[in-house]
Amino acid sequence: MKGGEQREHNFIKGAVLLILPLIFFMAAICIGRYSIRVEDVFKSFWMAVTGMDTGVDPKTYAVVVGIRFQRAVQGLLVGAALASSGACFQSLFRNPLVSSGMLGVSNGAGFGAALAILLFQNMVMTSVFAFGFGVAAVVLAYLTGKISGGTPTITLVLGGTIIQSIFSALLSLLKYVADPYSQLPAITFWLMGSLASTRMEELALSFVPMAAGMTGMMLFRWRLNVLSMGDREAKTLGIHVGLNKGMIISFATLATAGAVCISGVIGWVGLVVPHMCRMIIGSNNKWLIPASISIGACFMVFVDTICRTITGAEIPLGIVTAIVGGPFFIYLLKKTKGKSW
């Protein structure tokens, strides 16, 4: 009896986590300076897929298929990737204050992007460099953490902090030498994060690491529970600690680097969305990771919709995530009385 109830309960949880992002996705396509009815969205999609004329206004079609669809998909992916890797790192480092950028991926990516802006002034190269340097930063942090033998949490965190500060210093150097009228604004804008200027090919390319990373995190999520018991206990519970840590760090890094390289540095999501999920669904990574993926996706799409609708000019994402997320976080904290810490 109890098992049946449990299964039903789990089914509902899973369904909600699946449907919620779809609702936000649809809403994001409908809402904007040029508002679109839901049926027209479906008609446009149908037309795009089958090529059949559904009688939808060409202007509507252009906005739905040409602009908002891609942007909403990107929002879903980026939010999901950042939030789930943040959740992974928090469990792995047994530290609730850690975010997806812990091992330096954001700082590395920021430096890479700035370098590409200086060298090429080409969007695709910016993404490629951001991704490459993001991954490189994590590899460096990991190797630094390994110096003392093994990968104890404390040296990994230290390694991450050191690499972060090195890359942020290098980034400052690039900003200092950048042309203040063309390159510097580009760098600054990139660093504040945005979903606006990504092209379809870039999104398609970055989809691969994000999807691979999230799939990996989903597969390893039970082991993540065990790893969060600390190295000694995880080992005696029957897990190869070094190997599993390395895998989880790789997956989380792939996902974050994939997100950051097309959207710039977006803070907050990788730190706070996992905590929101903890409050709602508990700390077990079996549910926390899927919940982070789902809620992270919703949150990002929601915030991006605000960014592009609230004023005529776009507001950078990084600003709005904190302004919107902060109060919501406080509300949740009050509502759940900080349960789950």
């Binding site: 999520r221 039970w222 529970n225 206990e233 005696t236 029957g238 077990n284 810490w341």
Partner: protein, 269 residues
């Protein structure tokens, strides 16, 4: 056959100062081995070596006849379960989640433990007297309850050998007795072997008096000073020599329990 055998083991952290040398130990099926000794004698280090967390500088450790180093973590966990000293809680898992983690080695690679494994975990909780705690958050348990949860997790592992590092540190009398009773039952009724490091010497007498097959290994001065039954090892002379204390070994009124009554330090300050 000994379930665990330590042969001529030596360990050093820095390669210069040896923590211990020439340690030879074994524990048979259904036997409790209490490792005792003054602070800093290397008890916990030895336990870490047995768990494969520290690498021996010399000597070997055999688990059920196989060299411990050759075992994969999974194979090791199947044979040996570990109860840590003072688990540091982090995130608010439920008690059942924690105990189910004992089944990690028995689960398929990517699948979370299923119904069968949770059943074993519930059973283990019952054994330590924590039925009904399944859905409680383990971050909100008392120290004693948390320790029992850790023991339940080790029981859920269904290994033949339990290694415990000071299982009753920081516990009150009630919980200490609770833990000792659970340990006695595991050994007497289920034939498990237990190795425990402890500072509470009377626990060795408790276990002996409770009818469990108990041996004591006394460590001191970078090695093993002696092994034997509690009555053989924990004598006034030995305690004076190794702990520098003057004691009296007393028996309770109805002869139910023997215990050590510490009187004073040998070098009175």
């Amino acid at each position: 056959m000994a379930i665990i055998e330590v042969k001529d083991a030596a360990f050093s952290y820095d390669g210069k100062r040896m923590i211990f040398e020439h340690v030879g130990l074994q524990a048979a099926e259904g036997e409790i081995l209490c490792i005792i000794g003054p602070n800093g004698c290397g008890k916990s280090t030895l336990i870490d070596c047995m768990l494969g967390l520290n690498k021996l500088k010399a000597g070997q450790i055999f688990i059920s006849g196989r060299e411990a180093e050759a075992l994969t973590p999974r194979e090791f966990a199947e044979q040996v379960a570990y109860v840590p000293q003072g688990h540091r809680t982090t995130f608010a898992y439920t008690v059942l989640d924690i105990v189910t983690m004992g089944r990690t080695y028995a689960s398929r690679t990517f699948a979370p433990p299923g119904k069968e494994q949770r059943k074993i975990a519930r059973e283990a909780l019952k054994q330590v007297g924590l039925s009904g705690f399944e859905d409680r958050e383990y971050t909100r348990l008392s120290g004693g309850e948390l320790q029992l949860v850790m023991i339940a997790r080790a029981i859920a592992q269904q290994s033949r050998l339990l290694i415990m590092d000071e299982p009753t540190a920081h516990l009150d009398f009630t919980h200490e007795l609770n833990v000792m009773e659970v340990i006695t039952r595991l050994v007497k009724e289920q034939g498990l072997s237990i190795i425990m490091a402890t500072h509470f010497l009377n626990q060795a007498y408790y276990l002996e008096n409770a009818g469990a097959n108990t041996r004591v290994a006394l460590m001191n001065d970078g090695g093993l000073a002696m092994t034997g039954t509690p009555s053989q090892v924990l004598t006034q002379e030995n305690l004076e020599q190794n702990f520098c204390i003057i004691t009296e070994i007393v028996e309770s009124e109805f002869g139910e329990r023997k215990y050590i009554l510490p009187l004073r330090n040998k070098r009175s300050l």
